[in-house]
């Protein structure tokens, strides 16, 4: 009987094999689809620190000392990053004999212009304590501010020179630490330029609790910043051409999304020339108006004040909401105005023009918020100046440009002729957040229509005309 039961199984097995094998062999398989979720980093499991941290803290550095007791390498790690140094590795660029070190530390922008001589209010966003002048000690571990990124109490705010603002409960903050959330990053990055929504156009307070309409990742899928800005050993991925030359360590859509995910071949054909952002961010500054123009030359007058139109200390502004970006070739790097570069006062000065053109194979058409300004320059030496605005003798208290230029130049070390004027400058802010749902992505007609305003200025981009009819970029002229 034993032999028989064995045969039973053999028979069953062979019949099943003949039956199932062809079924499995011939079954139509759905095309393989990429899964963007699989590329997301795992968020670390939260350890409640409430019971680990006791006692009073005299100041921020005291908290840092407590943190470093366990997280021994944290300060060392932070001190290697641009969140601490506010500068980059030296880069050799044309026109400068020595490699240039660029960063928030010394970059000139066309908002508050530069931090030199104006440290305290600017360094309120430095991940450290006490950067009030040139003498700040970048080597002291105790100067690292852990709480600005890890506070979970929601009441930790930094004041001048990055010190905790008055009234902050350091114990509560220390006991609440966790991984950085949108609140922590947003505290500085949503408020670039000195207020909510001022600088970027695609980063503002609407992203603290965004709806799907504002940003599909953070709204619909509840992303936090570090889901894309992947962080290892306190080194946070991502950079912006407002303060840097290069694209190293940049975050890309394709970090998670397949480059060839569009079902439509026509769209796939766009991917090598058009950045994802171009179609998927049709508009920026969706909820809060962002600054589009800043006229410093109008400052100092006693005119009616309005945060979005005129302030005596800052001048005249233009704000706009739901802005349609402007489009330029961009290969990820930018040319930068370096302190001391000569300018042509009759032409607008590009402070950070994106690099790339139609012949640059690495460049793609990318959306930018373009911020224009009139800012102070040395009318004799023809270069931009960093005026002292904040503090004793600064423009914000004295309303004296000459003195502000003199004091500022004393700190930058750049000679000041005593003659100043105002010159037009342009800054380019890549639009990369506020990604819309796929239904709202741009359609053919937005760029390829002659019956209505096309978003693309094809001839300015270097095409012979609309590439839908003229063909895309070619290696040779047809």
């Amino acid at each position: 009987m034993k032999r028989q039961s064995f045969k039973w199984i053999l028979l069953l097995f062979s019949v099943a094999l003949f039956l199932i094998a062809p079924i499995l062999l011939l079954i139509p398989r759905p095309a393989k689809q990429s899964d963007p979720w699989s590329n997301l980093p795992t968020r670390p499991i939260h350890t409640n620190h409430a019971d680990l941290i006791k006692g009073e803290f005299a100041d921020g550095s005291a908290v840092t000392r407590r943190c470093l007791e366990c997280h021994e390498d944290a300060a060392v790690q932070i001190m290697k990053t641009s969140h601490w140094t506010w500068e980059s590795e030296p880069v050799s660029i044309m026109g400068h004999p020595k490699p240039v070190i660029l960063g928030k530390k010394n970059a000139i922008n066309n908002f508050c212009i530069g931090i030199t001589s104006n440290w305290p209010p600017c360094t309120a966003c430095h991940a450290g304590y006490g950067w009030a002048d040139n003498s700040f000690d970048f080597g002291n571990h105790e100067n690292v501010d852990c709480l600005v990124c890890h506070d979970g109490s929601g009441q930790y705010v930094k004041g001048n020179a990055g010190y905790p603002a008055e009234g902050v409960d350091l114990v509560a903050a220390a006991r609440s630490v966790k991984i950085a959330t949108r609140d922590n990053c947003g505290g500085c990055h949503f408020r670039g330029g000195g207020g909510d929504a001022v600088k970027h156009g695609d980063l503002d307070g609407s992203l603290y609790f965004p709806s799907e309409r504002i940003d599909v990742h953070m709204g619909k899928h509840n992303f936090i910043c570090t889901d894309c800005h992947v962080t290892r050993n306190h080194d946070i991925k991502g950079r912006s051409i407002s303060v840097s030359f290069h694209a190293q360590n940049q975050v890309y859509c394709t970090d998670c999304h397949d480059k060839n995910l569009h079902a439509d071949e026509r769209i796939t054909a766009h991917v090598s020339t058009v950045a994802c952002q171009t179609c998927h961010i049709p508009e920026a500054a969706l909820k809060e108006a962002t600054k589009m123009h800043w006229d410093w030359s109008a400052a100092g007058q006693d005119l009616p004040e309005d945060t979005h139109e005129y302030l005596k200390i800052k001048g005249r502004f233009v704000y706009a909401k739901n802005i349609q970006p402007e489009y330029f070739w961009y290969n990820g790097s930018a040319t930068h105005y370096i302190l001391g570069d000569k300018i042509d006062p009759d032409e607008p000065t590009m402070l950070n023009p994106p690099n790339g053109d139609i012949n640059d194979r690495n460049a793609r058409i990318f959306p930018f918020k373009v911020h224009t300004a009139k800012q102070i320059f040395d009318a004799q030496y023809n270069y931009l100046l960093v005026p002292k605005t904040y503090g004793k003798g600064g423009f914000w208290t004295e309303f004296d440009w000459n003195q502000a230029a003199k004091l500022g130049s004393a700190d930058t070390g750049l000679p000041y002729s005593g003659h100043f004027g105002f010159v037009s400058t342009v800054m380019f802010w890549p639009i990369t957040h506020m990604v819309a749902t796929k239904e709202k992505a741009l359609q053919c007609i937005d760029c390829h229509s002659d019956t209505q305003k096309s978003r693309m200025d094809w001839t300015a981009l270097g095409y012979d005309g609309d590439p839908m009819f003229r063909g895309g970029r070619k290696t040779s002229k047809l």
């Binding site: 039973w8 330029f328 042509d344 607008p348 239904e439 007609i445 390829h448 019956t451």
Partner: protein, 878 residues
Amino acid sequence: MMKRYNLLFPVLLGAILFAQCLFAQPQSMHPAFPLLDGNGKNVLQSAQPVSTMLTCGNCHDTRYIESHSGHVAFGLFPLNTQDSTASPQHWNRTLYNLLTMNMKNPATGSVANQLMSYGARHVGGGMAVYSSTGQRLDNIPAQTDNPETSYWDMNAGQIAAWNWRESGVVEMNCFICHIPVIDNQARQAELAAGRFAWANTATLARAGIVNKTAVGFAYNKTSFLADGSVDPDKIRISDPGNDNCGSCHGIVHNAATDILISPGCNAAQWATETTGQIISPQKIAVSGMNLVNKNDLTRSWDIHAERLVECVDCHHSANNPAYYQESASSKPQHLNFDARKMSIQEYLYRPSHQFVRGQSWQLSTSTQTANTMRRCESCHNAESTHAWLPYKNRHFNALACESCHIPKLYSPTRRLVDWTVINDHGQPRTECRSIDGKFGSLSTPIYGYEPVLLGRIEPDGRQRLAPYNIISLWYWVHGAPEQPVTLAMLQQVYYPNGSPANNVLASLDANQNGALDDDELCLDTPAKIDLVANKLAALGLNSPRIKSVLAPFAIHHNVAGREWVTRNCESCHSNQSLITRPFLLANNYPHNVQPDLITTGILDMNGSLQSQEGGLVFKPSARAAGFYILGHDRVNGVQIAGAALFILVLLGISAHGLLRYIASRKLLKTKEKTKQVYMYTAYERIWHWLQALAIIGLIFTGLIIHSPSVFGVLSFSYAIYLHNVLALILLVNAFLSAFYHFASGKIKMFLPEPEGFFSQAIDQMLYYLSGIFKGAPHPFEKTHDKKLNPLQKLTYLVILNILLPVQIITGILIWGAQHWPTIAAKLGGLLFLVPFHSLVAWFFAAFLILHIYLTTTGHTATSSIKAMISGWEEIKKS
């Protein structure tokens, strides 16, 4: 560094600071030209209306253009011909004009009246300029008895002479199609007022070239150059854009930003009125229309508009050298492409204004331009994009692309026009699709509607299902041959003195408010019909009666993107198949008057009219159209016969088994001597069980395919897939086993031995009928080489020689209908093959249970099954 900036400046500056001004639209290539009047003088001097024929005729052959234009030829109807007065077999423009124009009778219909009423839909030229004898209308004497020179004066209520010299004629209007900013409103106003000569000039008003004055139009000097030409920037002559076409054909909305708001269902936008098509690149969700679940409608109104395919890209001029392609049938075999093209110069001199188009039921007999257009498949490679679709060729042969790719339309659309009643504005009663509630209110929710699929003979001669809207129409006719009762006559019946006639009011005014409300206007009882018929008879009309016709309008536009397309198998292959879903023709209609279904020309409405909740619906039948839809269609006779056979067998074996059970209890249980015989080799057992499982699987999946709504434990497409693979397994297995039996000679055991076969068969039958109950021995001993008794041999002879081959062949043909449709068609098509296949399946099912039952008739109830498992059977020792 600075050099770099200098290089960047020209590019970036232009872009950033002056982008808006520097890059305006490219200017028209068209040279500046003067506007000439009818005498060839510059209008700036004469202040007369523009003559397009002379103005454009300076460079283009306008007479050629006018005589090669469907738009000129189709616009007006010829008068006093057989066609115009007799009520035609199906709905057409002539009938429409007769019913809607305020004329006393058709004979008085004049060119002037037509131009005033419907000139807005005509491009001018042709009959709006020339008499039937070929003279210009403004050159022939005005006579009241000639419909070309007379008109029906509504105010006077009589026929009067029409002074063409004063009104001027309507030349072919080049502007309405060839300039981007047109003033169609001003043009229509001139036409309606009978100031025909100014109509074309009025078209230039919005472009700022002319201004309206008390007597006509004055030319705006600032829009002209010093040499007397029009400023080319003002007039911007170009090829027609979507807006130009949309000024007559339907709603065209070219702006992605301005939101689209339209009540639809408007006679002035006929393509939207008749089909619901809206040509717009805008996402439906973005539009301003009150659509139900609008937020989910993230598709555009029309994917071609979204992708910047313009009307004239498909409906191009027949001799446009950029688009014209010689058809495969007319071009010589040795050439793939004829490089000799008409020169652009020659084309621009004489551009044919016959625009290529598809076919339509209404115009199928009257024009040579039908089917001149490229079709979906001329541009789209369906072969490569439908890899996911099982049986794609079968689907391509049965369905027009539009059937799946235009699943739904979202504009209110005409459902019905009932001219048997008119309201106090002289308008017939109408119904609209897509909405539920009051038409015209922007707060009325719009649901959209799904078109009905009708069998249409396509240019390749194949009949395919294609989407349509059907408008149902009711109107009075009288006399013999029948003539339509005109609007003027109905006015006399319903509103003889401007207010409702008393007895009409008494009969129709249900809420007794003294007026005829929209929902009261319907002759839905015999009494109401009689009342109006009698009143029409009193006006001298001979036997007035209500006639009803259906007007089908094909839907080709508003194609949806791929995610929006019908692609679930169950959408069609189920009980709720969209192919046969009822299509509402009327909520309310004149009592007992129903239209005939259309069976002429390229269309065949297969199905039936049914009353449903007081309304009238068309219930399509795919089977009547020659399609057998798996999962939806079934032939009841086959199912009843098959089920009856199955139940009979089931009853038979149940009764037999019961009797055996009863008999076995009476029999003496004696221990019989048995022996183990090696009955089935391993291969035979594998072969048997594989075939058994395959057949069970085939019956199971077949049931799902047959009726997914009842047996749908697997998806339809998966069931089909399994069915096909199981059939393949069965086929290969059958082939191998046939080889085995032939090669080993074992085939002999299946063959009846001629000698004594019948008496042996009768012995076996007697055993089953009586011996088995008495414990009699089997009449034939089962051995390894002779396993089958005569009845089994007979059964297997039938199964292996008839049922199995038939089932395999029909199955292959059904599967192969996509590859060799002609072979399947010769054998009756799916209409025959599928029911036949399912009938044979019933035989297999019946055999299956009989076979299983008979295995219990061995030495013991399970000995045969055990043998088929182990190979060793216990049989009685003889």
